[in-house]
């Protein structure tokens, strides 16, 4: 449904988006996650055709956004970071304007607009001037505006910002219910939003995609160093040597005394090994009471913090560049072969 290849955006010398590629299938809800200034809004502005990319392609439902802008834009409903509202119009006038602007085709305009108003609960303010609405209501009008004409693709830039908790829950479930017939990309800073709404997370930092997977896979991949915390009532050195002798344990780190005579250890299993039973057997053998034993799985927050480390983005960007250079030099070699050995000699003599 949405196909993005090698998207790059430069603002002057500032690289805001750096060779982003991903695709989103029909009916998917993708969460776009990243710290401030990561390039989320920029990417969304390019996907919707508001900005043009310095390099790269965006294809929406088979239509390239620059080659067939009208066709591509017809499938998109966009809620920008700042809802594009005309302050001097009433909500109803505004929605009518957007309906006409998008050249929406529905059986009955009034009915369609009323349905949309009902979805985001703005029916009772529809005759109010937009400039007099509160921030949350403006946001809702912004969402309504994106829904007009039933576009197949919804691009929502921080859709729940400024809403009250009840409304946040309602909008989330609205988005979830839309996913049956729509493809959605939404950006957010709120991790729980991604968890509750999205099928898939794309984490972006410094203009680079640092992760693109389901939340579950992400946490599994990242917790390769799946650690356990063990709290045991035993002499520290004895426990340490005994634990590290366990076959499936890769390493043990003492974590200090937590209570009188009670020590904590961080256990790191060898790859893909389950150490839980071994640990239990050992403690039973030695008669050391186990006071706590828990798995330190990474939650999305940990993943986020880990992946948005600038070093990660830099190394990915570097790897991308290297790949590009390699393929470029391969091309060169090819062309050299094509032009014969003469040039090669020339280059050598240089």
């Amino acid at each position: 449904m949405i196909e993005i290849q090698g998207l790059t955006k430069r603002y002057g010398s500032k690289l805001a988006v750096d060779r982003i590629s991903f695709s989103v299938g029909k009916g998917e809800i993708v969460g776009f996650l990243g710290p401030n200034g990561a390039g989320k809004s920029t990417t969304m502005n390019i996907i919707t055709g508001y900005l043009s990319a310095t390099e790269g392609r965006v294809v929406i439902d088979g239509h390239e956004i620059l080659e067939e802008p009208t066709e591509a834009k017809k499938c998109i409903g966009y809620l920008p970071e700042q809802p594009p509202l005309y302050q001097d119009m009433t909500v109803w006038e505004y929605l009518n304007f957007i309906y006409e602007l998008k050249k929406a085709k529905t059986a009955s305009r009034t009915k369609h607009l009323e349905t949309v108003c009902g979805m985001v609960k703005i029916g009772h303010v529809k005759d109010r001037l937009i400039s007099n609405l509160s921030k949350g209501y403006k946001q809702r009008v912004g969402i309504a505006q994106a829904l007009i004409g039933n576009p197949e693709v919804l691009i929502l830039d921080e859709p729940t910002v400024g809403l009250d908790p009840n409304q946040i829950i309602e909008i989330r479930s609205l988005i979830k219910s839309l996913s049956r017939s729509h493809t959605v990309i939404l950006s957010t800073h709120i991790l729980s939003e991604v968890q509750s709404v999205c099928d898939r997370v794309i984490i972006i930092n410094q203009g680079v995609i640092v992760a693109d997977d389901t939340e579950r896979n992400l946490s599994e991949k990242l917790s390769k160093d799946k650690r356990y915390t063990l709290r045991v009532k035993a002499p520290q050195t004895d426990a340490l040597t005994a634990l590290s002798r366990l076959e499936r344990v890769d390493s043990v780190r003492p974590h200090g005394q937590k209570e009188e005579g009670v020590y904590e250890f961080l256990l790191q299993p060898k790859e893909n090994q389950d150490i839980r039973e071994d640990v239990f057997e050992l403690l039973r053998e030695r008669d050391w009471p186990m006071l706590e034993f828990k798995h330190n799985a990474m939650n999305l927050e940990d993943i986020f913090i880990r992946l948005t480390d600038p070093a990660v983005a830099q190394s990915i960007s570097k790897a991308n560049r290297k790949e590009e250079e390699q393929s470029a030099s391969k091309e060169k070699r090819k062309s050299r072969r094509f032009f014969g050995p003469k040039e090669e000699k020339e280059e050598e003599s240089k």
Binding site: Y11, N45, T48, G49, Y50, L51, S52, T54, P69, T70, E71, K73, K74, I76, Y78, P80, Q82, P84, L85, Y86, Q87, D88, M89, F97, I98, E100, L101, K102, K103, Q145
Partner: protein
């Protein structure tokens, strides 16, 4: 394009801007009529040839917010991501401003009717005047719209448009002082007002019509280019 035209035209009446423009325009028509009637002349062209003041003040007011406000409030995101072409956006806005200008011009018809009740009507001269004013107004609107696409400050857009119209107003003055023959030719050839004066004399010259029409097309085209370039910046 029609959606943008309708929104823009109705916006003029929601803001003081549209009313300010009409007030200036109509005040001027009334004043011109008063002078003509009190002097006992039947010269509708007098009203038109003094319209320059209206253009000087009125057009910048009319065009300053057309794009600037959209850019400042980021409402252009709705327009540019809708299935509308950039030229559709520019022409919709241009025609809305021109339509309001037309509403202002309607008052000259009232002037004409009142004058006609005193003396025999000079229909052809009046029609020539109307066409001339609409064309020159359109040309200045296109220029003002172009300036408005370049800045997000309404005030800057208004002042710059004012300066440009003033420049064209004074062009004939420059021309008469220009020391070289070719400069005089050049300046008079792009002079809006000497062409406009031919209309007020009831002369319908195709060259003049084509001149103003080209100015409109060129500046609307430039506005489209500016919007296009903004995407790539």
């Amino acid at each position: 394009m029609t959606a943008i035209f309708k929104r823009e035209f109705s916006a003029y009446f929601k803001n003081p801007i549209g009313w300010v423009f009409l007030a200036i325009f109509w005040l001027f028509c009334g004043w011109g009529l008063f002078i003509l009637v009190s002097a006992g002349y039947n010269m509708i062209s007098y009203v038109f040839s003094n319209m320059i003041i209206v253009l000087l003040i009125g057009i910048p007011v009319l065009t300053m917010r057309l794009m600037s406000e959209e850019i400042r409030m980021k409402t252009d995101q709705a327009l540019l991501t809708a299935p509308v072409s950039l030229s559709g956006i520019v022409w919709g806005k241009f025609l809305a401003a021109l339509a309001l200008f037309g509403v202002g011009m309607a008052m000259t018809v009232v002037d004409f009717i009142i004058l006609s009740s005193f003396a025999s009507p000079q229909v052809s001269i009046f029609v020539g005047n109307l066409i001339g004013l609409a064309l020159m107004g359109g040309a200045f609107i296109a220029i003002g719209l172009f300036i408005s696409t370049m800045t997000q400050s309404q005030l800057a857009a208004a002042i710059l448009s004012f300066a440009v119209i003033l420049f064209f107003y004074m062009l004939d003055g420059f021309a008469s002082y220009a020391p070289w023959g070719w400069a005089v030719d050049l300046l008079t050839s792009i002079s809006f007002f000497s062409r406009y004066n031919e209309f007020t004399n009831g002369i319908l010259d195709y060259g003049n019509i084509i001149f103003f029409a080209s100015v409109i097309f060129i500046f609307n085209f430039l506005s489209v280019r500016v919007l296009e370039r903004r995407r790539w910046s």
